[in-house]
Each structure stands twice: as C-alpha cells, then as structure tokens.
Amino acid sequence: MLDNQSIKDILFAQNDTLEFSEENSAFLNVWVAPEELHSLGLFLRDDPRLRFDYLFCMTGVDWPTEDTLEIVCHLRSIPLGHQMVLRCKTGSRDNPELDTLSDIWPTTHMHEREIYDLFGIRFKGHTNLKRLFLDPSWDGHPLKKDYVDEVNLIVK
C-alpha cells in the first residue's frame, strides 16, 4: 500500500503535466488533460506499483463558472489497497467529448452512459453510447446547472 506522496511521485515521473491536490478531500486528486486520459488510465491499471484495478465510483460535475464539465473516477487497488481520484475536465461545456475508459475498466460502460444521459459528455470509442435512464427523445441533460424543466422540477 502506497501513501499519497508515493503515488504522486510515480505519476509525476510518468507525466509532468498532471495536477495534484489533496486539499479538502479524503483522497489524492489527480487532474489529467483530456488527450492523455486514456493512456494514463492504462498506466494506472497496469503499472505493477499502482495496480488500480477497481473503479468504484464515477460521476460527472458541472462547473458553469469555469465553462467546463468534469468527470471524477474513484479508484482503488484491490491487491494493494491504496486509493486515488482521477479527474478530467472537458475542453468546452457545449461540446464536451472525452475518450472512453470502458476498455480499461468495463464497469465504466454503464457509468459513462449515465454521465452522457445526465451531463451530455460524449465518450469517444464507447460501443453503445445512448441514454441510460431517460427516454431517447428527452431534451437536455438534467444534472447540468442551467437545466430548466418547468414541469418535472420544482425549484424552491
């Protein structure tokens, strides 16, 4: 089991454009650029020192003030026991697109469909990217902050 500093050192040696933060969070947060998301994912899973094989929580976050959407992936290593959070911000909020992680961690297959449904982030390379919960004809993505639905959503 590695501590946060060791994970940081290994990742920094691999890619020096990563951003790290442990502030106000239970885990080590690592931000990666969208174009390096997939390769870093592979490295996290396959590196014998890290072995992050268990992705237990994946979600999206909307940041309208920064004009970006973000994905947040909580990772744990079952054999080694350490944890971290992999995060990636999309380039634009109106046309968000990221590489899929479903070939690295198959569990994200459904998580990515959920994120597409509720945040509108498209995942390149996903084999079955369609809405998960809502009807295919649904307009908009409800978990975005500026989503308006006068019928179904009661705003206080």
Binding site: N24, Y54, F56, T59, D62, H74, P106, L118, D135, L143
Partner: protein, 377 residues
C-alpha cells in the same frame, strides 16, 4: 422432391435465427421495474441488455435543491431493504464533515439495527430466490421471520420499511424499553430457523442442480466490473466495508468476512446464508452491552457542510454504498452522487448470463439481489 419420414434428417437444411424477447418490466423474477432485452437463440441467451429508468426520480438533482436533513429522507427510497444503512451513510458523512463525535450508545444501536436490517434484507432475498427457482414455501418462511424484525423497527421508530431513525448527530430518539427483550426473542427464534432453511433449500438436490456451476463470475471480471458485496465475495474477493473501513461499532465486534471461491450462483447463495449467521453473532456481542449516553448531539437547525469534498461508504445488504458530496459551503450540496451497489452488480449481468438458458437466468438475477430503485435512483 423430398419425402419426409420420421427419421429423415429434414432439419439439416434449416437454420435457427436469433431473436429478441422482453423480460420485464413487469416480469415477476426481475423484482421491480427492470426491463431486460434478451437476445436468444432457441433457449440459449446470446446477449442481455438492461433497459433502465422506469423508476428514475433523479434523486441527485433533488439533493442539489434540498438541505442535508431532507436528503437523509430521500436515501431510504433508494435501496428500500437497507433503508437504515442508507440513512446512516448520509448521517456519517455529515457527522464526519462537521466533526461531530456521536456517543458509543448511538454507535452500538446503529450497528445492531444495521445487522437486523441485513438479516431482514437477506431473508426477503432468500424467500424470493426460492420462489424464483420454484420453491414457494421459502417465501412464506422468509416473510414469517422478517415480520418479527419489522415489528422491532416499527416499535423503534414507527416505520417498518423506510425507517429514518438515523438523523445527523445521532438517533431520532432513544430505543423503546422492550428493544433488548424483543431483539433477544427474535435471535432465539431465528437461530434454529437457519438450520430449517438449510434443510429445506440449501441441501435440496433440485435446488443444487439449478444453481451449482450456473452463472460463474470470475475473480477478474468481478473486479473489472466493480462488483461489490456478497456477489463479489462469492468470487473470493475481499470487499467488506465493515472490515476494510470500519464505521460505527464494527471495529469493536468480532466477525468473519464470508468468502467462497467458485463464484457461481450457489456460492453467492451460500455467502448470504452465512452472512446471516455472522449478523446474529454481531448482534449477540452488542445487545447486552448497550452503553449509556446521549442519543442525539446538538447540531444547528440548518446544516452547512464546510467547502470541500467528502466520501462516505457503508456496507449495505447489497454491498458498498458510497456517498460523494461536493460542498460549496451552502445548505445544499453542490453535487451529490450515490454510488449504489446494485448499479455495478447489474453491469456484470451480460458477462455471466451468456450461454445459459432462460430458466437459469432467473436464478442468476436472483443471486445478484437487485433492488431497482437503488439502480435507477
């Protein structure tokens, strides 16, 4: 022109086609409004595609509007069979974020009720599992014992299913005077019943043939698909949050994490049966030693979490429930995500069902122990 006789291999020129059938959303074996689109060839399953959202209420969006006290009440509408544990997850998150230390009394009572909830949930699963493979008696037996637990819940907090007994800072009120007596009476009644269950179903040759070697989930797939709870432990992977990241009073009780190695339907079944024994064992250690103390710490009327991110996990009857909150310091969370155990467990269904017959598929979904509102949220 062909003249067909009884033994003429006339079918050799014919071929079979794959076709699609609907299982659900009103199918009795899907236990709720889950629709599965099966691609089958004859009776053999080629592909399973879950169609979700029939009971999607966007609880996460509602959370961004409501305050933290209200959010606790939403969580027992997700996995309604683990309502007490779901409430506890949010309460623990708030208590950790605000650095409130609840008394030992609260921790012990919460843990006892957690385990009663787990037994009650497993009993319902056991009854329904038997029913799915054609043994109707188990349903009656399971519900008979479950009724006693529900009575304890009702006397404790007024509700039999959606409890809401946990509030941020402790418990809504103290336990009633006969709580210890009733719980002990239940344990005394329930212990011999487990043997009866095993005689009735576990050792039944028809049941064994229906479950052994069916729906094998390998260790690697279980990890890759993020499977959790008894489903994961049936494949031999340690993932019990009560052991790995203890909360409430789990660090002061002694119990065993149950593993099986085969990963088939029968192993998943056995994990849950043995977990009930462990739950009894946990309650027995605590029920005579409930410490004195406050049941509710003082909290502000309107709870505001500090800025930052929080993650709290608990072990529900189905596995790891994670609550992830991004707080901007206001009375409602900026973003709240529930990582529900059923969601990940469902995602592996295609992996383990392909190649099996429809009849076996029913047994497979049964041991995944899905609760649909937990998946749809």
């Amino acid at each position: 022109m062909r003249t067909g006789t009884l033994f003429d291999p006339i079918e050799q020129d014919l071929h079979t086609d794959e076709y699609k059938i609907n299982m659900g959303p009103q199918h009795p074996a899907t236990h709720g409004v889950l629709r599965l689109i099966l691609t089958i060839d004859g009776e053999v399953i080629k592909n399973v595609e879950p169609d979700l959202g029939y009971i999607h209420r966007s609880i996460e969006k509602i959370c961004e509007r409501d305050n933290y006290r209200q959010i606790v009440h939403l969580t027992d509408r997700m996995d309604y069979l683990s309502s007490h544990i779901n409430n506890e997850a949010v309460c623990l998150l708030i208590e950790n974020a605000l650095e409130i230390e609840v008394s030992d009394r609260v921790k012990v009572i919460r843990t006892i009720l957690d385990e009663l909830t787990r037994i009650s949930s497993h009993l319902l699963w056991w009854g329904v599992m038997g029913m799915d493979v054609g043994a109707l008696t188990t349903f009656m037996y399971g519900f008979r014992e479950r009724e006693m637990i529900n009575d304890i819940f009702e006397n404790t907090c007024g509700a039999r299913l959606t409890m809401n007994y946990n509030v941020p800072g402790g418990l809504m009120w103290d336990i009633y005077s006969g709580f210890v007596r009733d719980t002990k009476a239940f344990l005394k009644h329930f212990k011999p019943k487990l043997k009866e269950y095993n005689d009735l179903l576990t050792d039944n040759i028809i049941f064994r043939k229906r479950t052994e070697g069916i729906g094998v989930l390998s260790k690697e797939s279980a990890i890759a698909y993020g499977v959790t709870g008894p489903t994961m432990r049936g494949s031999g992977v340690s993932c019990d949050i009560r052991k790995l990241f203890p909360y409430s009073a789990y660090d002061r009780v002694e119990f065993e994490e149950i593993f099986m190695q085969g990963g088939d339907t029968f192993d998943r079944y056995l994990v849950r049966m043995k977990e009930m024994e462990q739950s009894i064992h946990i309650i027995e250690q605590l029920i005579d030693n409930i410490p004195e103390g406050e049941t509710l710490e003082k909290t502000r009327a309107v709870i505001k979490l500090p800025k930052g991110e929080f993650y709290q996990r608990v072990e529900t009857a189905r596995g790891e429930l994670g609550v992830y909150v991004i707080s901007d310091g206001k009375k409602s969370p900026y973003r709240m995500k529930f990582r529900s155990p059923g969601f990940s467990n469902l995602s592996v269904i295609n992996e383990i069902a392909v190649g099996h017959k429809i009849g076996d598929f029913v047994a497979i979904i049964s041991t995944l122990d899905l609760v649909i509102p937990d998946i749809d949220r």
